[in-house]
Symmetry: C2
Subunit: 115 residues, 2 copies
DNA sequence: TAAGTATATAACTAACTACTTATATATTCA
DNA sequence: TGAATATATAAGTAGTTAGTTATATACTTA
């Protein structure tokens, strides 16, 4: 991947957003798997509006994109962002979120009946 | 350099500190050149205590180290920090602080007489 | 169309943060 | 030793932030 050179301003905005543990974890999860809000809700001890607000901030800076699919809105990393190269370098220092993803897939909140 | 894997907690602390424009600039300068407070003071429109407090936070997390030399205390990056590998990856996305370093060297605050 | 589910937005608040000014401490040097 | 310089610490404050609860909007399905 190409290493982009950023202005201090842009970079510090990115770093400030990632400086929150919840958002950093969300982003790490989204690196491995797109998720909707109700899935993320399974792995954070936090209200739904709180998760939505974090996602909003990440979206406002262009780090994530959203796609509505039925009643769910799926969030994923926006690889076309100018900030993506730096973001990816950072994420490569972090552990895989395998436990949290298992937790999501076990609880399977987007499946409403067992039929 | 070895890529270290960090806990989300540690990483988010680092990113939060770097999420401030002043601190990110200080760190970028220190990557190129050790500096004392009075030198940094030349390039920020900010009080001396403010600079000292930023340096304190960076030191508390182990990102910079200090060395007293006479009446000056020189700050530099702490390459032995567990966080250094991530820090360095981040700094590699940022522009060189050549202008600010010129400014420091031109004003030359640690030289008190011309003799 | 009505009820249920998913998500977003609004309004509020407690805690935190980045500054400021005032002052203390440490060093140098005449 | 006393004045000047460099830095740190303390205390106060305005602005920001991350959460909350309440409510609105959007979609699905019976």
């Amino acid at each position: 991947m190409q290493k982009t050179e950023l202005e201090i301003n842009q970079a510090s905005q990115l770093l400030k957003l990632l400086g929150d543990k919840t958002r950093l974890t969300i982003i790490s999860i989204l690196k491995q798997r797109e998720c909707c809000v109700c899935e993320l809700l399974e792995v954070f001890d936090m209200s739904q509006p709180s998760i939505s607000q974090h996602l909003r901030k990440l979206k406002d800076l262009g780090l994530v994109k959203e796609e509505r699919r039925g009643q769910w809105i799926y969030y994923s990393l926006n690889a076309t962002s100018e900030l993506f190269s730096l973001l990816d370098d950072i994420l490569n220092h972090l552990p895989e979120q395998t436990e949290k993803i298992k937790q999501i897939e076990k609880s399977n909140p987007t499946l409403r009946c067992g039929c």
